[in-house]
Assembly symmetry: C2
């Protein structure tokens, strides 16, 4: 096991009807900025519920945070925070709203040019405070509700950013708030959670029993509930399992003391920035291709994954690994998500621009062993066509 630090002070408030506790969770006498995305929190009444549970408070609102939240949009909220002396941000939505709100919280405390906070080479924000925030989660996917990271978009680039100051103070996770999600977003959430997990698990073994088995438990639970929660969204327990797995997949727990390989996300971010393909859908395309190309490097963990997650134990090592990769692709396809670039109209010619973006952002030595070059990225993208 590798040395590690684990620190996660977010208070999780999980379950049915927990929004009724909102008033006791948001500090008294705060000037509150409620942040949200498009119309769904209005359409399905979530915003009304939030307001009803914060009576007699000084509340400002900032809607319109887009998927892949944009720097220029978020800076408009920073102006509100500064002008209205906002001292608590309440993010109501999914990963984009939560991520965007973390950036707002940081940039509002930064006296320099906020663009300096978006540095692909140095995601740790050079800021020694942030406006405190809470979240109300309407989409299980990114885990942003229980971590201190965010991904912000600007000029066709997605930039990760984090800070010790951006853990939400609390996150309300009421699975019933996610019942109205369209099927495609639930499928995206399952895939995002699945990929977060394997990026911290399918690397090389370091004898970390708890972390490995917890990662396997998340994957097995996702596989177990995916069909039910996709096709019967109001099955509370299935959805609750998806929501909790999403949070647990990216709160630092399963990544503590083990190698991590964020290649899938790094290449995926470039594809989303260039072609607007949903984040999770880029991951479903890339993961099987990455494993095919990195089969030897990841052999021991791919065999463990095959055996413990999919119960694949017959055949040669190669056969077991190939079947595990195919079974993973089939699982993604069963959720209605393609695993091929060509399904989104991309072809070999588009690969050059993806490689150019990776080069521009210095993504030239990816993976858990820092030896996944741009040439290997190209090989992966060709396999993913």
């Amino acid at each position: 096991m590798l040395n590690f630090d684990f620190y996660n002070p977010t208070h999780i408030v999980f379950g049915k009807d927990r929004m009724s506790e909102l008033d006791s969770l948001v500090p008294k006498n705060s000037n509150i900025l409620i942040t949200y995305g498009g119309g769904s929190v209005n359409k399905f009444g979530t915003l009304d519920k939030v307001l009803a549970n914060l009576p007699d408070r000084k509340i400002f609102q900032f809607g319109g945070i887009e998927p892949n939240p944009q720097y220029l949009t978020l800076m408009k909220a920073v102006e509100i925070v500064k002008n209205e002396d906002i001292d608590f941000i309440l993010a109501v939505g999914g990963g984009s709203v939560m991520d965007g709100s973390k950036f707002i919280a940081l940039a509002s405390c930064y006296s320099g040019n906020a663009l300096n906070l978006l540095n692909p080479d140095s995601p740790l924000a050079p800021v020694d405070c942030a406006i405190p925030m809470g979240t109300i989660v309407t989409l299980p996917a990114t885990g942003s509700e229980m971590n201190n990271g965010a991904v912000i978009s600007h000029n066709e680039t997605k930039v990760p950013i984090f800070s010790i100051h951006t853990f939400p103070k609390f996150s309300i996770l009421d699975p019933t708030l996610t019942f109205t999600l369209p099927k495609t977003q639930v499928a995206n959430g399952i895939i995002d959670t699945f990929i977060h997990t394997v990026e911290q698990y399918v690397t090389y073994p370091v004898n970390a029993g708890f972390q490995d088995r917890t990662a396997e438990g998340i994957l097995q639970t996702l596989i177990e509930v995916s069909d039910t929660t996709l096709n019967n969204p109001e099955d509370y327990d299935a959805r609750a399992n998806l929501v909790w797995c999403s949070t647990m997949a990216l709160n630092g727990l399963i990544g503590s003391g083990v190698p991590q390989d964020w290649t899938t996300h790094m290449i995926g971010h470039e594809i989303t920035a260039l072609f607007g393909i949903d984040h999770a859908k880029t991951l479903a395309i890339l993961q099987p291709a990455i494993w095919k190309v990195r089969k030897e490097k990841k052999k021991a963990k791919l065999l463990q994954y095959a055996a413990r997650v999919w119960n694949i134990t017959d055949g040669t090592d190669d056969e077991k690994i190939d079947l595990a990769i195919k079974t993973t692709s089939d699982f993604f396809e069963s959720l209605g998500v393609s695993t091929k670039l060509s399904a989104y109209g991309l072809n070999e010619k588009n690969i050059d621009s993806i490689i150019a973006s990776l080069a521009k952002n210095n993504r030239t030595a990816l993976s858990e062993t820092k030896d996944l070059t741009l040439d290997i990225c190209r090989e992966i993208l060709i396999k993913a066509l």
Copy 2:
């Protein structure tokens, strides 16, 4: 899945040579009280290392916290905290030192009679602050390093106590600090961790996929490393897995959103208080007997435990459960720990006093369904003879 809150702000500092970071972890300009137990932190140089890593600090020491820390002992430390304006407590040791230090931290902030804090009917301490504390863990067992609970002994009674203010600010978990532990204490640590896990897992099913599989992962990891870490204590990875499982078994994670059954600990505490038998050894005696008596109530989860933890899938339900219980007993015995009261010289006559203690402390409706009466306790104790 049941509704739940999860909040755990302890910063875990895990791995080899992490004590070198101590100076940056303890707040500057603190008056520090270092608390510890018997002679082993002196004998094996741990205390010297602690002092060497806190140069130029104002340090007081309080040693002699006994196993099952006693109220009267701890109150002597409270005097030091008050007289010397201590504003940080550094606990160096195992569960007893950490638990005792939590009580010192609370009682030092309490203006009333500190005995009021020991109320078997109301473990939540009526205190709105505590002296901040950190821990350096030398014994993997209780999980006290990452929770806010403690068990304090007074007048032949063990009383649980907790508070939102007693989460350690940090805990240094360096597995090498535990290499010198005697075998019997390592066995106790394995059993304590195992029982903490099953008390949050072998109840009734509520469809909590992540929690169940994480609990199973802890049990499987313990079973996997126990022989190695017992007989080859300097095998770093085996010990690191034990240390991390111990912490994870009782930090709130696997108990979130599921029923819990602390019967084993409740009866065990009385046996320790009356007869001085090691805490973990009482658990090893009681758990198989409890499962035998509560077989029907716990049927679904015992079958899941049999299949997923021990791979017991053949036979009738009864046969599978009986074999799972026997295999668990055999596992404890393989660690050199007896699973019978008679091994400690206790017989049927001693059961009356255990029942009387349970009655005195109002432990009359135990278990996840609150229907485990004193008569059933007696039945369990007879099975455990």
